[in-house]
């Protein structure tokens, strides 16, 4: 453009010393703005590096037990997974999670994922594949791995039973009780228990519940293959047990019952949620899952 030169020439004389100083100040200000904004956004690294943003994630989250980078990267922070969950287990992380802001997590003690949706709806809702679509059944999930963290506090280990509402009358969490309502989860506080020996973690484990259902269906119609039955209830039969109650000998001659986490645990957190002692005797570890446990 030949006119460019002309206009540049025309503009030059107007750059008085005052204007020059002005534009220099503007340039400096802009550099400070750039440094400030980029600095502020990079503060998001801090919780990630410190590991304080590590949380229990919804089923299928693209992550390894220790490293959630892929999950943060692939999630578009839309919350569609939040919207479909029938038990409202999923929440979105806040500013303190740094780069994890807007990424879904589950606070199992408050409300665990009990697979009430059958079809892993959060996984289906996710538009970016941050919750991988490779997941077909709850048993394929690898959220974490349960651990009896405080065996001494465990009621079963003390030989005690449990009577009443598992988490008290004020607790707002939901679970689906198939015998109460096949389709809708109900408040845990509406479903009191009366147990001779506490086995709530085993009894409410979604994987164990499914295994029991599959076994029942199988014994009913022995000519039908299990997989068909599973398809009918929209859910495959888990190949491995997640948690069992087993007798242990503590050395004092008394036999006690102990919840033992098995290879099939997916880390959904229902056991942690339902455990009636405060704080939960059984918790879900984030740094392990069924696969890593098997390997080691």
């Amino acid at each position: 453009m030949s006119d460019n030169k002309q206009s540049v020439k025309r503009k030059k004389p107007t750059l008085t010393p005052k204007r020059k100083a002005q534009s220099r100040r503007e340039f400096l200000r802009s550099s400070v703005l750039a440094a400030g904004m980029i600095g502020a956004s990079m503060l998001g690294y801090v919780p990630v590096l410190q590991g304080t943003s590590l949380r229990l994630r919804p089923p299928g989250a693209l992550k390894t037990p220790q490293d959630e980078q892929q999950f943060y990267a692939s999630c578009i922070k839309c919350g569609q997974c939040v919207q479909v969950c029938p038990v409202e287990a999923i929440k979105l992380a806040d500013l303190l999670d740094g780069f994890g802001i807007g990424v879904p997590y589950i606070d199992a003690r408050e409300q665990a994922c009990d697979f009430s949706c059958d079809g892993l709806q959060c996984v289906l809702a996710c538009p970016t594949g941050a919750l991988t679509h490779d997941l077909d059944y709850p048993a394929d999930t690898r959220m974490g791995f349960a651990r009896l963290a405080r065996p001494k506090a465990c009621l079963a280990m003390q030989g005690k039973g449990f009577k009443g509402q598992a988490r008290g009358a004020d607790y707002r969490g939901l679970l689906r009780y198939e015998e109460v309502d096949r389709w809708n989860p109900i408040p845990v506080s509406d479903h009191p228990y009366d147990l001779e020996i506490c086995d709530l973690c085993v009894r409410q484990c979604p994987i164990e519940i499914r295994i029991t259902q599959c076994e029942a269906a199988e014994s009913e119609k022995t000519d039908q293959p299990v997989a068909r039955v599973a398809q009918q209830i929209g859910n495959a039969c888990p190949p491995k047990h997640a948690i069992t109650l087993e007798p242990v000998e503590l050395g004092d001659g008394v036999v006690r019952m102990k919840p033992v986490v098995q290879e099939g645990c997916v880390g959904c957190g229902v056991c942690e949620m339902i455990c009636p002692v405060e704080s939960a005797a059984i918790v879900v570890d984030l740094d392990k899952n069924a696969d890593t446990v098997k390997e080691s």
């Binding site: 006119d3 460019n4 002309q6 206009s7 540049v8 025309r10 503009k11 534009s23 503007e26 340039f27 200000r29 802009s30 550099s31 703005l33 750039a34 904004m37 980029i38 502020a40 956004s41 990079m42 503060l43 998001g44 690294y45 990630v48 980078q69 892929q70 943060y72 990267a73 692939s74 999630c75 578009i76 922070k77 839309c78 919350g79 569609q80 939040v82 919207q83 479909v84 929440k91 979105l92 806040d94 500013l95 303190l96 740094g98 780069f99 802001i101 807007g102 809702a125 538009p127 970016t128 594949g129 679509h133």
Partner: protein
């Protein structure tokens, strides 16, 4: 094609020099020549008087209503679980159709380095939508931060008028620096770094899923805009605006400037979020009698509302001709 060229210059923060006589059409030159000395201050004041306030005038009313309606649709459909619009402004499903904010999708693509089909569908839908409805229209008609910062702007202007504070400007090129840096950060760190501070995403999520600590950050941005620099985030920082500005290159919805009746008194530039796009309204600033305002314009219609001579109007390329 000068519309595209102007738009790109504006988007990357360049100043467009006044057109030389050779660049101006004979018609527009005649108009400018005809106005020499004809417009007295009193004339201008008289017309301007009739348009004293822009507050809640026609397009602003429509725009605020639309902006609030769209955002409330998200809120209501989650709250009442009607599954009309699921998700947030970063990514949504509208009656089953995928929508993905172009800038959020870009961040994800760069950080994750892999795109799944649903995201591609979402990107295409949104791209086509804004291609039809107009590029930076997203900014002023949908973005919730825009509304808050518009209110903050009134406060800022009032404080400036009272001489409590002074406005500080930045070099507009810094916005393109931000655009490139945030893209690079996503690529290099593998995290969607910009999402951490994006008030658009933060506000949309806060509205739908409940408020959180992140609102403090949005509050800080607003304070910065009120006390230090007018509309700073949208003018100098936000990459979302740049992304949609690029879409706007191709979109038919525009604001059109007609030089004929214009008084060149500059009321439009005073209300505009991006006043550089209106520099063509300065006397002898336009090349043609009719010229489209570049795509950095958010199509908010403030200038359309304020212009006492109706020199600025909305236009839909192709359609307006048919309607005439």
């Amino acid at each position: 094609m000068s519309y595209i060229k102007d738009s790109i210059e504006h988007l990357i923060g360049n100043k467009i020099p006044r057109p030389s006589k050779q660049q101006q059409s004979a018609e527009v030159q005649a108009i400018y020549a005809g106005k020499k000395g004809k417009l007295s201050k009193a004339d201008v004041e008289a017309v301007r008087h009739a348009h004293k306030s822009t507050f809640l005038s026609k397009w602003q009313k429509r725009r605020w209503a639309t902006l609030i309606f769209v955002n409330m649709l998200f809120v209501a459909s989650f709250y009442f679980d009607v599954q009309l619009v699921e998700g947030a402004l970063t990514g949504a499903r509208v009656m089953g159709f995928h929508f993905a904010d172009l800038n959020a999708a870009l961040q994800v693509a760069l950080a994750y380095k892999h795109i799944v089909l649903n995201l591609v569908i979402g990107i295409v839908t949104v791209f086509l939508m804004w291609l039809l409805l107009g590029g930076r229209t997203f900014c002023s008609w949908v973005c919730p931060y825009h509304l808050l910062s518009e209110w903050a702007e009134y406060l800022h202007l009032w404080l400036v008028k009272k001489r409590v504070i002074k406005n500080h400007t930045f070099n507009r090129k810094v916005r393109i620096v931000f655009y490139v840096v945030f893209a690079l950060l996503a690529l290099i760190t593998g995290y969607t770094v910009f999402e951490t501070i994006s008030p658009t995403g933060i506000l949309s999520r806060a509205l739908i899923y409940g408020p959180g600590l992140a609102l403090v950050w949005v509050g800080l941005l607003l304070l910065f805009e009120i006390f230090y620099s007018r509309r700073a985030w949208c003018r100098y920082v936000c990459p979302i605006g740049v992304t949609y500005g690029v879409v706007g290159l191709l979109s038919p919805v525009r604001v059109k400037y007609n030089a004929e009746a214009c008084h060149h008194e500059g009321d439009c530039r005073k209300v505009c979020l991006v006043p550089h796009v209106l520099e063509l309204t300065i006397r002898s600033g336009a090349r043609d009698v009719n010229q489209d305002v570049s795509s950095d314009c958010t199509r908010c219609g403030m200038c359309v509302d304020v212009c006492p001579t109706d020199s600025l109007t909305y236009e839909v390329k192709g359609l307006s001709k048919m309607l005439k």
